[in-house]
């Protein structure tokens, strides 16, 4: 294992990024050795546990090897870390333990993950490894990476100090009433005669009562998904809606498939529609005077959060969703994770102009002033501008005939994020702060 660990250092990683992980791994390995050496060779149970731990370490080494610089978009990752890390600090032995962050790329289109190690007890270790996983083939698709907002929710769920509040205050209202209130009610809901056609077809396809019977664990998982969708919405805003729909419908074009862990997309979208209305994203302050911008944002929200949901999909009331969102916002803000705020017109319009002119969107001053005044722009506003233009291009039926326009748009946004990092860094240094 040590030899494998040393071998992975042959590869190039972003400078310094492998050191913390390497040291942590060495500590864990030494601790494990100290347990194995005195162990009784006939203690099958203990040996089995050690084998599992060794296997886990072996997986971790593989993660490190997949962390080559260039395998994932580092500017996006830096912004994501700043958003997620405060929330994922853990209270360990009275001190806030900063997690060790590993970022790597994996195969598949739906491998987006943020994982925080669950159990620290067996190795008696002090720091969790916090893993961010990108799908390698979507390396440049930063607009889709807004789905990480949902994954932040899963990471937060693993932290005991957040889980209590999430269970009581966020999931509590959602679970209090409605068709998903209990497993028997959920089963009845899935078997309702007024269910949409794709549901009926799926029921007919698997003519087995077992298939439509919702189990306890299944319902718990579904609610965790609903909660994580709210995380995504309040952390990434409109970009989350678009990324969520694009990715989920790519794998389930009807949006009605359900599984042991995930409820039908149609129900998730219905909940997000109610949440958007509660957050008043459809309403604009008087300062937004650009008529086209108002129309574009309205059209965008209609496309990705929908309109009044059908009676079967609509599993929560306004009051339930409002209570859950209102409980979630202070959890995030008290942890130091800033929620998404709809951008002002004077922020959004320049970004949109840049994208339409095929210039990477960032706070760059294009005025031709001899003393350029570049702005700090929230990276989520860059993504939102990207999605608005993507929607605009889709509405034009991709009139330019370029198949790769969505990829190019993503690359422009990816480059915009990189340039924004440079601007942020310069502005911070100028203000006397740390970049």
């Amino acid at each position: 294992m040590r030899s494998t660990l040393q071998d992975v250092l042959r590869h190039d990683y972003a400078a310094g990024s492998s050191e913390e992980f390497y040291n942590e791994f060495c500590e864990r390995l030494s601790f494990l050795e100290s347990l194995i050496q005195p162990a009784d060779a006939t203690d099958v149970s203990a040996l089995g546990t050690f084998a599992e731990e060794i296997s886990l370490l072996s997986t971790l080494v593989h993660h490190m090897e997949r962390s080559h610089a260039g395998e994932f978009p580092w500017p996006f990752t830096e912004y994501l870390q700043a958003l997620a890390t405060p929330l994922c600090k853990e209270q360990l032995a009275g001190n806030e333990g900063q997690p060790i962050i590993r970022v790597y790329a994996e195969g598949g289109l739906d491998t987006y993950q943020i994982n925080l190690e669950n159990d620290l007890s067996s190795l008696n270790i002090g720091r969790r490894i916090f893993t961010i996983v990108f799908p390698r083939t979507l390396r440049h698709h930063v607009l889709l990476h807004a789905i990480f907002g949902h994954e932040i929710g899963h990471a937060a769920w693993t932290i005991p100090r957040h889980r209590v509040d999430l269970l009581d205050k966020v999931l509590g209202p959602l679970r209090a009433s409605g068709p998903l209130n209990s497993t028997s009610q959920a089963t009845a809901w899935l078997r309702r005669t007024d269910a949409p056609t794709p549901i009926v077809e799926l029921r007919n396809q698997y003519a087995d009562d077992e298939y439509t019977e919702i189990k306890r664990n299944q319902l718990d998982s579904w609610f965790q998904e609903f909660m994580c969708d709210l995380f995504g919405l309040v952390t990434f805003g409109g970009s989350f809606l678009a990324a969520h729909q694009t990715l989920l419908l790519a794998l389930d074009p009807n949006g009605y498939r359900w599984g042991p862990y995930h409820p039908p997309y149609a129900c998730r979208k219905a909940m997000l529609w109610r949440a958007c209305r509660h957050l008043q994203w459809h309403e604009f302050p008087a300062s937004v005077v650009d008529v086209k911008l108002r129309a574009d944002i309205e059209a965008f929200l209609t496309t990705y959060s929908g309109t009044t949901p059908g009676p079967w999909e609509d599993v929560f009331t306004d009051a339930q969703v409002a209570a859950a969102v209102d409980a979630l916002l202070p959890i995030l803000s008290s942890a130091g994770t800033p929620c998404f705020v709809m951008p002002e017109e004077n922020t959004l319009l320049p970004l949109l102009r840049m994208l339409r002119e095929e210039i990477p969107p960032c706070g760059s001053d294009l005025s031709g002033s001899p003393t350029p005044a570049n702005r700090n722009v929230d990276f989520r506003h860059i993504l939102f501008a990207g999605w608005l233009v993507a929607d605009e291009l889709a509405g034009q039926g991709n009139a330019d005939g370029k198949h790769g326009h969505f990829l190019e748009l993503n690359k422009l946004c990816e480059m915009g994020l990189m340039q924004q990092r440079a601007i942020d860094r310069y502005n911070a240094a100028k203000a006397g702060g740390q970049p």
Binding site: P360, S367, G368, M415, M418, R421, I423
Partner: protein, 209 residues
């Protein structure tokens, strides 16, 4: 044909005809040029088992899309490294690396750009661009061909001002059909096709000596 001075460069930018984005500080604006910063991607040319520069590999490329040998030869020639801001890259003596600028550049039909080294780096042996002409209508990052002609390694940090671009007006607008190139909308350095239009002088695919 004449070179633009600072006020003319700024006017072209204010009119939206010329884009160099972002210009992070006023110090980047020279009397008749704009300083360009080092980007974050480094394509290092490395001698490996299958590394070779052979124009014949680019000839008759219609049937090489997805061709294993062609793609492998192309990919093996360069090692790609990405360095976030605050990190660095060592350019060793004799080494060649393709690096993008931090800035995105868009030229109108009546301007061409000339990229050169900043003198402070040239004095250390850093050669910046051997193909320094940026044609009218170009849009994308500019690829710098970095070579260390000195005897000691150079430590390079993304974001540093390393090159400069000057602009020359043309006698008239370039024709649209003459402006396109495979490097347009370039997001990072890429290998150029050294055979395009010269296939008559190259052996057929599979017949390389």
């Amino acid at each position: 044909m004449s070179a633009l001075v600072k006020s003319s460069i700024l006017k072209c930018m204010a009119d939206g005809k010329l884009v160099v984005s972002p210009i992070i500080c006023a110090r980047q604006l020279g009397a008749s040029s704009i300083d360009l910063r080092l980007g974050n991607v480094f394509l290092m040319v490395r001698a490996r088992g299958l590394s070779v520069v052979d124009p014949a590999r680019f000839a008759h490329t219609d049937d090489t899309v997805g061709d294993h040998e062609y793609e492998q030869a192309r990919r093996q020639k360069h090692e790609r490294y990405e360095a976030p801001f605050g990190q660095n890259f060592l350019l060793h003596p004799g080494m060649l690396a393709l690096v993008p600028t931090l800035e995105w550049v868009k030229l109108p039909a009546n301007l061409q750009g000339i990229v050169t080294a900043r003198s402070s780096w040239a004095r250390e042996g850093l050669s910046i661009a051997t193909a320094s002409l940026i044609h009218p209508g170009y849009k994308g990052v500019i690829t710098l061909e970095l070579a260390n002609l000195g005897q000691i390694p150079l430590r390079l940090y993304p974001g540093l001002r390393i090159a400069q671009i000057a602009f020359h007006t043309l006698t008239e607008d370039a024709a649209v059909q003459d402006m396109g190139s495979r490097f347009d909308m370039a997001f990072e350095p890429a290998e150029g096709n050294k055979a395009h239009g010269d296939e008559a002088f190259l052996p057929l695919k599979g017949k390389q000596s």
